[in-house]
């Protein structure tokens, strides 16, 4: 996709956003203090848009996605408003939220091996999601949907591989399976949390290409969460930059990359090693570690 295409989509007047997040706060209250990992975050996603959430470790970007799905770990609280296509998600009770999860908003996680259950075939796991949302669907129909979904993410020989267990696939193929699982329900929004972090660059390029292709074919919205600025710059059209749970800056990709307003964004952009660039760019960064805090600096 060319940049001019992307510019056009950005210039369109945003009609009603597909997802509107206002004042989202995620906290882990303990007896002594409340540890807020996301503070008063607000953003909008236009219909069919692609939003990148960027930040270093501890920025709260993953917690934001889990908060939208109401899948926060036990002990976490969320407040604020999350409106998805006229539905206030924070007001939904769990059974109603279940009809949204997987069916209308699908999620793709990092590390597909641990995200797939080793005891069941991938086909089983895709079909299980399908059957959960389409009542009265037979096993055979669901099985066929699983094969179709796998074919849509370009897994060759899907009819045979549908009966494979997760450990029989390579890392890139497992991530395709995760995407196939998300696709099987024709979701309106896909949230991908570091979907390519564990993968080799060539595989990463294929997976990102696949996500873009799906978005173009189905018109689904995409929220891509990553630490990699170059990845969002190629895949999304809106960006929000997060740090320590705060929104640092948001806007269209081109604006963030060419006219960053926040110092932090500038620092991040300066720190990104460039494949095509001269060598001396990073020399201005200090080499002392005195200012690093233990919470940041490692995404191990």
């Amino acid at each position: 996709m060319t940049n001019s295409q992307r510019d056009q989509t950005l210039d369109q007047p945003a009609d009603r956003p597909m997802l509107s997040v206002r004042d989202l706060t995620v906290a882990f209250p303990t007896a002594k203090a409340t540890n807020e990992v996301v503070h008063h975050l607000s953003f909008d996603l236009p219909p069919g848009g692609a939003l990148g959430i960027v930040g270093e470790s501890g920025s709260g970007k993953s917690m934001t996605s889990l908060a939208i799905m109401n899948l926060l770990p036990p002990g976490a609280t969320r407040s604020g408003s999350i409106v998805f296509r006229d539905t206030e998600l924070t007001a939904l009770r769990e059974p109603a939220m279940r009809t949204v999860r997987g069916s209308r908003i699908a999620m793709i996680f990092q590390d597909p091996l641990s995200c797939l259950n080793p005891y069941y075939t991938v086909g089983d796991q895709i079909a299980e999601a399908y059957r959960a949302h389409r009542h009265g669907v037979s096993r055979r129909q669901a099985h066929r949907v699983a094969i179709e979904s796998m074919e849509r993410v370009h897994i060759r020989d899907a009819a045979r591989r549908v009966n494979y267990y997760p450990h029989q696939f390579s890392g890139g193929m497992r991530q395709r399976v995760m995407i196939a699982m998300a696709l099987s329900m024709e979701p309106e929004l896909i949230i991908a949390d570091e979907p390519t972090t564990a993968l080799d660059v060539t595989v990463q390029a294929q997976i990102l290409g696949l996500l873009t292709e799906i978005r173009e074919n189905t018109g689904a919205g995409l929220i891509l969460i990553t630490h990699d600025l170059a990845v969002v710059s190629e895949t999304t059209d809106q960006i929000i930059v997060m740090r320590h749970g705060d929104l640092v800056e948001s806007g269209p990709v081109e604006q963030i990359f060419s006219e960053p307003r926040a110092d932090y964004t500038r620092m991040l952009l300066d720190a990104v090693p460039r494949i095509d660039d001269a060598i001396d760019d990073m020399r201005t960064l200090p080499s002392s570690a005195a200012h690093e805090t233990p919470t940041e600096g490692a995404r191990l």
Binding site: E56, V201, E254, F257, I275, D276, A289, E296, R299, L300
Partner: protein, 285 residues
């Protein structure tokens, strides 16, 4: 680089690992060739980057160069001496010439040791005197890698990833090596920290004059630090050359695929940002 002998020469390195559990009842032991006839040279004050995707054999090469594993065949020559089959005191000498900085500092630093114990360990293991005493020696090294020397009693878990990696670098410096092998040494760090560690590695090289073998999968990082680049895939070096040659005029098909796959920030946006910032800086002054 120069017409003198290179610091390190590796010739026809091969490493095979046995593969178990394949075949039927009456199987023959099969081997997997992780490194297949690799030859390299590293000059003085040079940084040779070894790049490739997972399973390309780059880390296995690094381990053979550091004599952590023995090659199935081939030789490693350091400073004109064949080090492939050294043992005993000679191996100790080699160990103080070649040091390794690993990917994950929290795995490569013993969690039960303090910085002082960690940094002086190589000298102790080699039975050498610690110049100026352990405390002063540690503090001096910590300062050189940009760590607060008052933290010498801390343990790895009390540091951030970047700080811990600095401890790992300090340990490598302790024996004044001629060659430092960095095995994905910055891959696990956040970008802002990664940039600082790259800067540190470069400034240390300027000050100390050692050479690096820099193993990485991230080509953008390699571009910032390497003087020469070797591209590996499936156990073989498919392309080797000066950094700009490899990046700007890749010869091998695989190198081209690899370079094309790397996500890039639109250069137009970059240029605009530079331009605007320069304008702003000029306006301010």
């Amino acid at each position: 680089m120069t017409d003198t002998e290179p610091l390190l020469v590796a010739r026809n390195l091969v490493k095979e690992f046995p593969v178990s559990g394949t075949g039927g009842l009456f199987r023959r032991d099969k081997t997997f060739r992780a490194v297949d006839d690799v030859s390299l040279e590293v000059g003085y004050r040079e940084t040779l980057a070894l790049v490739g995707e997972s399973g390309s054999g780059k880390s296995t090469v690094a381990r053979m160069l550091a004599r952590l594993i023995n090659p199935t065949s081939g030789t490693v020559i350091l400073d004109g001496t064949d080090v492939t089959s050294l043992s005993g005191a000679k191996l100790h000498d080699f160990r103080s010439s070649v040091q390794v900085v690993f990917q994950d500092p929290f795995s490569s630093l013993n969690p039960r040791h303090s910085v002082e114990e960690l940094v002086t360990a190589p000298l102790r293991y080699q039975g050498r005197q610690i110049p100026g005493g352990a405390r002063a020696f540690t503090r001096e090294l910590m300062e050189r890698v940009g760590l607060d020397p008052t933290w010498s009693g801390r343990h790895p878990a009390q540091f951030s990833g970047g700080q811990a990696q600095r401890v790992g670098i300090a340990r490598a410096l302790a024996v004044q090596p001629k060659l430092v092998i960095c095995d994905e040494a910055v891959s696990a760090l956040d970008v802002s920290v990664q940039a600082q560690i790259i800067n540190l590695l470069r400034s240390l090289q300027r000050e100390e004059g050692f050479s690096y073998v820099f193993i990485a999968h991230d080509l953008a990082v390699v571009r910032q630090i390497a003087t020469r680049v070797a591209v590996m895939t499936q156990g073989q070096v498919v392309e080797i050359g000066s950094r700009d040659e490899v990046f700007d005029h890749p010869q091998h098909e695989y190198t081209r695929t690899l370079l094309a796959a790397i996500p890039r920030i639109n250069p137009r946006w970059e240029a605009r940002r530079r331009h605007l910032e320069r304008a702003k800086a000029e306006a301010a002054s």
